[in-house]
């Protein structure tokens, strides 16, 4: 955790929804009035959200959600796939409703000021997790190239990804075969040859993760991956959210996505 200076770095707080809007056919975004939490949040961290609609209906447990927008003086934002009970309740929230959040949680992405250029490979709503990296990189003068893969054009959400970062985006769609692993491999190899990135980042697809892991290893490029796992407590207490990760000695151990992650070293993480 990036503990910062606060005595209690993680807050349980009730905050107000300032925007709630559908994005494309299957996604939704929420902006929250939470200046203190937004300022404390770092790209790659997440919040644990109590998914209760305005009337109080929703599933018993909280749902983990990556920070999509954050920063000093900006609303705290989430962008999510409306999938099951929890996200459906979240999507029913309206401007002015209260939302209980716990966070910021977990370890976020690490950006090295020495880097000149990074490459992001994201699929589906994985782009929500990586979106704040583009802005943070831009602010540090690091150029961002992104390869976004989606089912179809309506699911791409390129503006939601890039924000004001000016990232250069290549879009791949299932429909035209553009997102096939072989095709992506060819494309990435060409990129690596043309302008080798200083680091790679990924989230949202097991197949793209495996591909990027392999190519990055081959080219000796460091990388980071944000993993997902079902959560109970979100804080590191229940041990239900483990993923297999290789430790320094190469041994496979179970690490908690909420506490040791959600961002892991690209080569240490195992496929899921």
């Amino acid at each position: 955790m990036d503990l910062g200076a606060a005595a209690f770095p993680v807050a349980e707080a009730s905050v107000t929804v300032i925007e709630s809007a559908p994005v494309g056919r299957r996604y939704h975004r929420l902006l929250l009035d939470a200046p203190d939490l937004s300022a404390r949040s770092r790209p790659g961290q997440f919040f644990h959200l109590l998914c209760r609609d305005g009337g109080g209906a929703g599933p018993y447990l909280r749902r983990p959600m990556s920070i999509w927008r954050c920063g000093e003086g900006r609303p705290l934002g989430f962008l999510f796939h409306v999938k099951g009970k929890g996200t459906t309740a979240l999507a029913r929230l309206r401007e002015g409703d209260a939302l209980s959040v716990v966070g910021p949680l977990g370890h976020g992405f690490r950006l090295d000021p020495a880097w000149r250029r990074i490459l992001i490979v994201a699929r589906g709503v994985g782009l929500a997790t990586l979106a704040p990296v583009t802005e943070a990189a831009a602010a540090m003068g690091i150029a961002v190239e992104a390869v976004l893969s989606a089912r179809a054009e309506a699911d791409l959400m390129a503006p939601e990804f890039a924000g004001a970062s000016g990232a250069a985006i290549t879009a791949l769609f299932d429909a035209d075969g553009g997102s096939d692993v072989e095709h992506v491999e060819k494309m990435l190899r060409a990129r690596f040859a043309a302008a080798r990135p200083d680091a790679v980042f990924t989230c949202g697809s097991n197949r793209l993760f495996l591909l990027l892991q392999r190519l990055a290893a081959e080219h000796g490029i460091p990388g980071q991956v944000a993993l997902e796992q079902q959560m109970g407590c979100g804080l590191g207490m229940c041990f239900c959210c483990v993923r297999q990760v290789r430790d320094e000695t190469g041994k496979v151990v179970n690490l908690r996505v909420c506490a040791e992650g959600p961002v892991f070293d690209l080569q240490a993480a195992l496929a899921w």
Partner: protein
């Protein structure tokens, strides 16, 4: 000013609210000052390293959860060497939950914990499989429960010893009496009850290991009944646990005969739940003109009605 102090044998707690084993860790200190709690309770420590159970380890039900975590951990040596120094940073009394596969192992581990500075009490989690009885949990029957308790009592004579009982028995009062006679200083009632959920799309249990332990608000009426039965069966303090999420829930458990309460699953939904429970308990007593929270213990038991009637 309401006096929130509660006594569990020789141990006095500043208030009757503490976490339930396995749902708590030093990580919660990121959210609030853990020294505001009546006690701290570790997740169960086992003698050896355990990797834990297959995934998924948790699933949601109507107002509750099923878990099958499998007590992953690095073993007792690591706990004493690495985790204890971290726990000693807190001032609230530390209760170490202990789980072991045999009576002898329970005794060994209890002796080692008794020799470890900073351990205020041992909570024996006897709901785990007993390798000497075909894997049936110690807590299912009075005899093995008493055997484990007696062995720990001998191995750690001065150490406050709490024994955590299981709902998965036909007669919890008999088990409670047996561990009382075997020397327990308190019973913790209760661990999770066995449950199951099935994913109808895949026709497989929702938990990786099949059945799991059921906890949360949906379990509360059963846990409260178990406390009520045990409080009428033994003279040692009962610590109530199961579905407690609010101050009112805690009052119910105290009135049913508990001297203290533990909060488990509710902390997942609200990490500050234990603080809310403490504050609500204090308010309840103040509103009712009750000077000491300890007066609530057993207020709804039949013996209290009888006394009131006399």
């Amino acid at each position: 000013m309401v006096d929130l102090a509660t006594r569990i044998g020789t141990l006095t707690l500043a208030n009757p609210v503490m976490p339930a084993s396995g749902t708590f860790g030093p990580e919660l200190a990121q959210v609030f000052d853990l020294d505001r709690l009546g006690a701290l309770v570790t997740k169960s420590v086992t003698p050896e390293f355990r990797a834990g159970n297959p995934l998924p380890r948790l699933c949601e039900t109507e107002a509750g959860v099923l878990n099958s975590i499998g007590i992953p951990g690095k073993g007792l040596d690591h706990f004493i060497a690495q985790a204890m120094p971290e726990w000693r940073r807190f001032r609230a009394p530390l209760v170490v939950s202990l789980s072991a596969p045999t009576v002898a192992s329970f005794a060994d581990c209890a002796a080692r914990l008794a020799a470890t500075p900073g351990v205020a009490a041992i909570e024996a989690n006897i709901s785990c499989p007993n390798l000497e009885e075909d894997g049936r949990a110690f807590a299912m029957h009075p005899e093995p429960a008493a055997a484990a308790t007696a062995a720990m009592r001998r191995a750690a004579p001065g150490m406050p010893l709490w024994v955590k009982l299981s709902p998965n028995t036909g007669d919890i009062a008999a088990v409670a009496r047996a561990v009382e006679e075997a020397g327990a200083d308190a019973v913790v009632v209760a661990n999770t009850i066995l449950g199951l959920a099935i994913d109808v799309e895949t026709a497989r249990p929702k938990l990786g290991s099949g059945m799991g332990g059921f906890s949360g608000p949906a379990f509360k009426p059963v846990a409260l009944r178990l406390v009520w039965q045990c409080a009428q069966a033994v003279r040692i303090p009962v610590i109530g646990v199961g579905g407690i999420a609010t101050g009112e829930d805690a009052v119910e458990f105290l009135m049913a005969g508990a001297s203290a309460v533990q909060v488990g699953t509710a902390s997942f939904v609200s990490p500050t739940a234990m603080l809310s429970v403490i504050e609500a308990l204090e308010k309840f007593c103040a509103r009712k003109g009750i000077a000491r929270v300890a007066e609530l213990t057993g207020a709804a038991l039949p013996r209290a009605w009888r006394e009131a009637a006399e």
